[in-house]
């Protein structure tokens, strides 16, 4: 990230473009100096940018006020009025242009907006000066988070970053005095964090250094939301007690609404780890952050951190030689979002290409409209208007469209950001803001200007390039020397091809996103509550006895068994299925081979789904085996050595060709060349139980028995008499009674679980659909404009041919020939690209069933039909031309 005391280059370039005049250098210098002063006074980047932009625009107007009044800048308010009048006169053409730009501009801006969203200033006092110190192990290129020893040394030796702090976050069980429990994100954090962010508490106090002393009473500072949900917003909350993973903590303070530092945390407990308690180079996972000292820059802090590292490495190479620490923006302390991958860059290029296509298409529509005004333009030229003047007028008219489209596009982008933020508010950091920012507005205005240039100036140059007297001689409505050249043909072909390509790519998403797939779970999806249960082990900030892995596994197994028994005693519960997943949930995939049975394409392996389940899983779902048996207790106890496997009916049909599966042997294989797994024997066949609800053809799968304690977390499918959602609170009470450290998360019913997963597919379908819609509308509009222009230009000829007895069919073919050829070329190109590129892009074992040729053919036919429909209105108009009307216009 560049030094924030220098104005963004983009702002500076824009200012240089518009601030003109003899005093421009001094104004531009003042703008830069004002930026520096604003940032030093603590103004955020966004606010400083806004002040910069407003001052630049007002200064540009002031410096050129006289020229603007006299119209000597080339443009005038009259041009703007004419542009607004054009909007009203041709609503259809303008609607298409507005739609194209209003969708194209936000899509083109989206990559940049996402990048900026991940690099904001924190919303605190001088939030831009809160930084993180991130350490990388250069030998493994991975983050190094066991920096407790370094943190203590930095606290003593680092001068450019003051008030250093650390945090480690996790999910905890929080239980209140009345027994209600919920899983909550919290952080063990140093008291200095509250000094760093400079946010006072709403009630009580924040954490203090004394709270971090070994043996100090456990205390907690609650977030506003947790205070409301757990303590009903009690004004006397300070002094009350909540249990955090079973350990009582006294509430000492409540933070104000919206405070979720460092990411999503809703409560804070003291960080009590000491470097002295851990060998060098070890310790808990921590994230280090602080506030830049007054006057210090991030560059200076980085230099100091590196100097310290070199000194420490010289003294102790084993501990520091392989580590590199850097001072980064706080939002990057836990890692960088990869904005420099080839995939991201390709997406940016694609977004930009879409805008270029949209601008080009708008240019075609403007060209078609301008072509019908050539007589008017010729008369104006004859009366003394310069070519530049006319070009500026057409540019301003197009700019008006562009600015209206930008406004719509920004509203659309902000609306999408708001909806997205609400949908994912509980899953994204509080500082992540996808809303429209000042830089985005500047970029959008630039896009509007570029669009106006591309879509307005190019047609205007074409329209004003001919000789005045020739144009005046041609006369007549529609008579023009202008032609649609190769550029317009290429553009229309490209738009049609893009539409076919994107629609083909999106076809597999349609059944998943829109189909009624909940029935694919194989059970009644409304009778089961889906829940996840896990034991987190040691938690940051809590004093707990460490245990070895085998003891932990045994304890987990006992706890899970206890939970099962407790649930079985509940009167509303008639079955509990336990496994790595539940019907309708995400099942992982594996390549398997069946002894003596190759796959249909000749290869030995089949791609199938898999799950690990506790004995009794199928019975609890009321889906006993249809052949053989399920898993018994012996299978579960020695699961690692058990040879038993159960397959579903789809596996038998698809993989075994319907043959008897009992006694057959299967094993997993590694198609990357690794060793295959051990042979397992099929002991039973069960019905299909939602291993892949999106497409029943990919539902083939197998089950393995689970070893108690090895599954952590476990997924529960609880059959409940009544509404399963009503059992959620009771489930948490039952689990908390077994062990308050156990964490439980309910996902609603199985139906709700499936729908939640489908949201991913729906967002992807929305994006693909939006791009396809833009491409289809643009191509249809372009074809409409092309055919309409042809009809207008050849009106006299059509009238003569009609008078001479030409058949209407031949007239229609003649008018539409070029458009149909372009349409055919577009679907051929798009369909060809689809079958070549898309299978490679959407590759994966789960996509091998997709018949891309069929999809491309279907999509091509649909797009072709839509394109033909767009040509119908102007063709019909050509057939209504009477010879008398056409000749009378001469």
């Amino acid at each position: 990230m560049s030094d924030r005391r220098v104005a963004p280059a983009l702002l500076r370039r824009c200012a240089e473009l518009i601030v003109r005049g003899i005093d421009a250098p001094y104004v531009l210098g003042d703008l830069e100096e004002a930026w520096v002063r604003d940032r030093e006074r603590g103004r955020s980047v966004a606010e400083s940018a806004l002040r910069y932009a407003v001052n630049a625009i007002l200064s540009a107007v002031a410096l050129n006020a006289r020229r603007i009044r006299d119209g000597r800048l080339g443009a005038s308010w009259l041009d703007v009025k004419l542009g607004l009048r054009m909007l009203r006169r041709e609503p259809a053409v303008n609607a298409v242009s507005l739609l194209a730009l209003a969708i194209g501009i936000p899509i083109a801006m989206m990559p940049g907006q996402l990048e900026r969203a991940f690099d904001p200033d924190l919303p605190f006092d001088e939030g831009h000066r809160i930084v993180g110190i991130r350490t990388i192990n250069v030998e493994t290129s991975r983050s190094w988070t066991r920096s407790l020893h370094d943190f203590e040394r930095w606290s003593q030796e680092l001068g450019s970053v003051q008030l250093l702090g650390v945090w480690d976050g996790a999910t905890y069980n929080v239980t209140t005095e009345n027994g209600s429990a919920e899983a909550v994100e919290g952080a063990a954090m140093t008291a200095s964090a509250f000094e760093i962010v400079r946010v006072p508490p709403l009630l009580g106090r924040t954490l203090q250094a004394d709270d971090e002393e070994p043996g100090a009473p456990p205390v907690v500072v609650l977030g506003y939301g947790l205070w409301r949900s757990a303590l009903a917003g009690d004004a006397d909350a300070v002094g009350r007690t909540v249990q955090i993973s079973g350990i009582p903590h006294e509430v000492v303070g409540v933070m104000p609404e919206g405070f979720l530092f460092p990411n999503l945390e809703r409560f804070w407990i003291p960080f009590r780890e000491r470097a002295i308690d851990h060998p060098a180079g070890s310790g808990p996972t921590i994230w280090v952050f602080g506030r830049l000292a007054d006057g210090a820059t991030r560059a200076e802090a980085n230099e100091e951190v590196e100097r310290l590292r070199q000194r420490w490495a010289a003294a102790d190479p084993a501990e520091h030689a392989h580590l590199r620490s850097s001072v980064v923006s706080f939002t990057h302390v836990t890692g960088d979002v990869a904005f420099d991958t080839p995939e991201w860059l390709a997406m940016k290029a694609l977004a930009g290409l879409l805008l270029v296509i949209a601008c080009g298409n708008v240019g075609i529509l403007i060209l078609a409209r301008t072509a019908l005004r050539t007589s008017e333009l010729a008369v104006r030229t004859a009366l003394g208007a310069s070519r530049v003047r006319i070009i500026v007028q057409i540019f301003v008219e197009t700019l008006v469209i562009g600015l209206v489209a930008v406004s719509l596009g920004l509203l659309l982008a902000d609306g999408i950001a708001t909806v997205g933020h609400r949908a994912f508010a509980t899953e994204i950091p509080f500082w992540l803001d996808f809303g429209v920012q000042p830089e985005t507005v500047v970029v959008a205005l630039l896009f509007a200007g570029a669009s106006a240039g591309l879509a307005g100036v190019v047609p205007a140059l074409k329209a004003t390039g001919g000789h005045v007297h020739e144009t005046l001689q041609h006369g007549g409505r529609g008579a023009t020397s202008m032609r649609f050249g190769a550029f317009s043909s290429v553009l229309i072909v490209a738009e049609v091809a893009v539409a076919v390509l994107f629609l083909t790519f999106g076809t597999p998403l349609i059944p998943f996103a829109l189909g009624n797939i909940e029935h694919g779970a194989g059970i009644d999806p409304d009778r089961y509550l889906a829940a996840q249960l896990w034991h987190p082990g040691t938690r940051p900030g809590l004093e707990m006895e460490p245990v070895d892995d085998s003891t932990f596994q045994r304890q987990i197994g006992e706890l899970h068994a206890e939970v099962s028994r407790a649930l079985a005693e509940e009167s509303l519960v008639s079955g509990v299925a336990i496994g790595s997943t539940v019907p309708g949930g995400r099942h992982s995939g594996r390549w398997v081979e069946v002894e003596g049975m190759p796959a249909s394409d000749g290869t030995p392996a089949h791609w199938v789904r898999t799950a690990t389940v506790v004995p009794g899983f199928f019975e609890a779902l009321d889906q006993p085996p249809v052949a053989g048996r399920g898993f018994d207790a012996l299978d579960g106890l020695g699961a690692d050595s058990s040879k038993a496997v159960v397959v579903n009916t789809r596996f038998v049909e698809e993989v075994m060709g319907g043959r008897n599966a009992i006694g057959r042997r299967i094993r997993t294989v590694d198609r990357g060349g690794g060793s295959p797994g051990p042979w397992w024997e099929v002991v039973g066949v069960v019905p299909r139980l939602g291993m892949f609800v999106a497409d029943g053809r990919l539902d083939a799968g197998f089950y393995r028995p689970a070893t108690p304690g090895l599954l952590n977390p476990i997924q529960l499918g609880i059959r409940v008499d009544g509404d399963p959602n009503d059992f959620g609170a009771r489930l948490r009470e039952v689990v908390a009674a077994v062990d308050p450290q156990l964490q439980v998360q309910t996902g609603g019913t199985i139906r709700q679980l499936i729908r939640q997963q489908r949201m991913d597919g729906r967002w992807a379908l929305l994006l693909v659909g939006a791009i396809s819609l833009v491409a289809i509308v643009l191509s249809a509009a372009g074809l409409y404009a092309l055919v309409g222009f042809t009809v207008t230009r050849r009106r006299r000829e059509i009238g003569i041919r009609t008078a001479l007895g030409a058949q209407q069919r031949r007239i229609a073919l003649g008018v539409a020939r070029r458009a149909v050829l372009q349409l055919l070329a577009g679907v051929a190109l798009g369909g060809g690209l689809a079958v070549v590129i898309v299978p490679g892009m959407a590759s994966g074992p789960g996509m091998s069933h997709v018949r891309w040729y069929e999809a491309a053919l279907t999509v091509s036919a649909i797009v072709f039909a839509i394109g033909l429909l767009a040509c119908v209105p102007p063709i019909r108009r050509s057939l209504t031309i009477t010879p008398m009307e056409a000749l009378a216009e001469e």
């Binding site: 531009l28 001052n55 006020a65």
Partner: protein
């Protein structure tokens, strides 16, 4: 003696306050701090150019300094003619307003 407009008076008073540190940005900040009014740099330089043409102020371009991307500051000094014009314009305003401020306050309060 030319009568100065309100904006011109604000600029000249700022130059008087700033003494030898009067350039576009400092003048703008002086006006904003003292009056709460937002003005653009372009408007200030345009007004100063007009006043310089009338001999009310003189300017001097200084060397570029850090933080201005190589662009210099332009410092302004009030000339005797400008001081006289400012004094007269402000005195004229004071003369017409003299003694009316209390009554103005009462009228404003209704």
């Amino acid at each position: 003696m030319p009568y100065l407009g309100e904006f011109e008076q604000l600029i000249l008073f700022s130059i008087v306050h700033l003494d030898d540190d009067a350039f576009g940005l400092s003048i703008r900040e002086e006006i904003e701090d003292r009056t709460g009014r937002t003005v653009s740099s372009g408007a200030i330089y345009t007004a100063l150019r007009r006043m310089e043409e009338r001999g009310l102020v003189t300017s001097e371009v200084a060397d570029p300094i850090e933080g201005r991307v190589g662009r210099p500051r332009k410092y302004y000094t009030i000339e005797p003619a400008g001081a006289r014009a400012l004094h007269q314009s402000f005195s004229t305003l004071q003369a017409i307003a003299g003694g009316a401020l209390d009554r103005l306050q009462r009228l404003a309060e209704g």
